[in-house]
């Protein structure tokens, strides 16, 4: 799992590409149901390994198919945030990713990503447009201002991506339980969140340039 950024997330393909070239294993990315609803995008997304973020889907991939699953626990709360709050992690959902990992008996591997925030910075969010289009948020990005509203949706700014894979977090609980202690789940999720946030701070303090890393 990783931190999430950019109005139209650019970090997911980067992480997937990184893992797939390093480990030669496919990665399945869990994402919002919104993807599935969108024509063309949804089809392409599922063809490149996108899976709707349903707990059953994640469990099946991890437990039965023994595959790698990438998840962004912050969800749309992270990609909706504006440029002034960049690299500040949002709430990690309800800790669902920890619970699924416990149930599937697999460790969580946190990844800290630097660079995505600068590739498509959101300047402002339009509540009215989001409501009219039925979207969780409608960003007005710097890319849109520079490249126009359509090209700005797909044209990213150059930015140096750096991924830091942190130590895997195991849970040492029996798998396939009906329910897990909610406090334990929340504690683990919070600990992971803190570790990523700290890694991000370290990486940012060492970064000299947005473009050259």
């Amino acid at each position: 799992m990783a931190n999430h950024a950019a109005a139209i997330p650019s970090d997911a393909p980067v992480i997937v590409h990184g893992i797939e070239t390093e480990l030669k294993r496919p990665v399945y990315t869990l994402a919002d149901f919104l993807f599935r609803q969108t024509p063309v995008v949804g089809t392409i997304w599922s063809r490149v390994g996108g899976v709707a973020a349903h707990p059953d889907n994640a469990y099946r991939l991890l437990r039965e198919d023994k595959e790698l699953v990438l998840v962004f626990p912050e969800g749309t709360k992270a990609t909706a945030k504006t440029y002034d709050t960049r690299y500040q992690l949002r709430r990690f959902g309800r800790g669902g990713f920890v619970e699924i990992a416990m149930r599937a008996g697999v460790p969580v591997i946190p990844i800290a990503v630097v660079g995505a925030e600068e590739s498509m910075p959101t300047l402002w969010r339009s509540k009215a447009l989001a409501k009219a289009l039925g979207l969780p948020y409608f960003p007005v990005t710097a890319n849109m201002l520079l490249l126009g509203p359509l090209l700005g949706l797909v044209g990213y700014f150059p930015a140096k991506f750096k991924l830091k894979v942190l130590d895997p977090v195991g849970f040492d609980v029996p798998p396939d339980q009906e329910r897990y202690s909610k406090s334990r789940v929340m504690d683990e999720a919070e600990a992971i969140r803190v570790s990523i946030q700290e890694a991000l701070h370290t990486m940012l303090s060492e970064r000299r340039s947005v473009w050259r890393g």
Binding site: F33, L34, R36, Q37, T38, P39, V40, V41, G42, T43, S46, V51, A52, H54, P55, D56, N57, R60
Partner: protein
């Protein structure tokens, strides 16, 4: 003493097929077929009763024939073939009456097999990739056929609870394809270009028609209670289904507000809302529970499409095979006349 079986919906595709298969089984002593219309397939020893599904007739029938097994194959799952009124009558009222008759105090019924459909899961963007038997549906119940099937399933749950002496097996079938059956999807695949929803290429799961009959007989023999998904292994995109049939897909169905935009063409193309949502999001069901009872499929999902495609190609060349015509006098003659030499049973 062999089993005494009542098959509902004898004239439907499934009723006829199941009765034909039962006739081959020597452990089945009596087969009674019930329907409002005449059978459409040739039957050797099945007794056909022409009756509607009213409670008084059903309870008399169950009491008089002392059937121990009911195969309820009458449920309508193709909403293009009947009005919503008839659909409600057959599915909901018919099942209600059948269950009431089967649950009567002096009833001899010990096993009930119901042919339901994976339509009860719906198809929506919030669905998991694979529905297990316990997964709740996520999409709103918007269509008549889904609503009626859900009502039927609710009745079945109540019935199973109230009648512990009866084993209730519920089979939820994925989209059926095969040489002979006509479904909304097979009719789409018959068209020169296969319509698809623009921008969507859903993953679909199919079950071959012979596997459907085999699954019904399997649970009848094993008497396994519970709910079972029945579907071929794997799933495949709609575009690939079309390709297997030698067709191309045409993304002509609008991705949004399809129901309203297609309203004027309702008479031209049979696209009920449940098929439209299927063509957007697809549906997959977890088939592990039935296979764990020992059932082996003879077709995968792609195999079912292929089986249909082969038959469709043959049909295009040699035309439709003539159907069986049921004549009361002929049937009576073969069943009761002393002139007919019958094998000893």
């Amino acid at each position: 003493m062999g089993r005494r079986v009542l098959v509902t919906g004898l004239s439907t595709f499934w009723g006829g097929r199941v009765a034909q298969a039962l006739e081959q089984d020597p452990t089945v002593e009596v087969i009674v077929g019930l329907d409002t219309e005449e059978p459409t397939v040739e039957l050797e020893r099945t007794e056909y009763v022409k009756a509607d599904q009213s409670y008084s007739i059903l309870s008399r029938l169950v009491r008089a024939t002392k059937v121990d097994t009911i195969l309820h194959t009458f449920l309508v799952v193709d909403s293009t073939r009947s009005s919503s009124r008839a659909l409600h009558e057959i599915n909901v009222i018919g099942t209600m009456n059948l269950l009431a008759a089967a649950g009567a105090p002096d009833s001899s019924v010990r096993h009930l097999v119901v042919k339901s459909s994976s339509l009860v899961y719906g198809a929506g963007h919030r669905d998991p990739a694979w529905f297990s038997e316990e997964t709740a549906r996520t999409s709103r119940v918007g269509t008549e056929v889904e609503r009626s099937l859900l009502e039927v399933e609710a009745y079945l749950s109540d019935f199973a609870e109230d009648n512990p002496q009866v084993t209730v097996s519920r089979l939820r079938f994925a989209n059926v394809l095969g040489p002979d059956i006509r479904t909304p999807l097979s009719r789409l695949l018959d068209l020169p270009v296969v319509p698809a929803v623009a921008g969507f290429d859903p993953l679909l799961q199919f079950v071959e028609e012979n596997d459907v009959v085999r699954a019904i007989l399997h649970v009848m023999e094993q008497e396994t209670p519970g709910i079972f998904n029945v579907a071929g292994e794997g799933n495949l995109p709609w575009s690939e289904c079309a390709a297997l049939c030698g067709r191309r897909i045409a993304p002509i169905l609008p991705p949004f507000a399809a129901d309203r935009l297609l309203m004027p063409f309702n008479r031209l193309i049979d696209l009920p809302p449940e098929v439209l949502s299927l063509l957007r999001y697809g549906r997959g069901v977890d088939r592990s529970r039935l296979t764990s009872t020992g059932f082996r499929y003879s077709f995968t999902s792609a195999g079912a499409v292929d089986s249909y495609a082969k038959a469709a190609r043959l049909r295009r060349t040699i035309g439709e095979a003539p159907g069986y015509r049921w004549e009361r006098d002929v049937e009576t003659f073969f069943r009761t006349s002393s002139a007919v030499v019958r094998p000893e049973r």
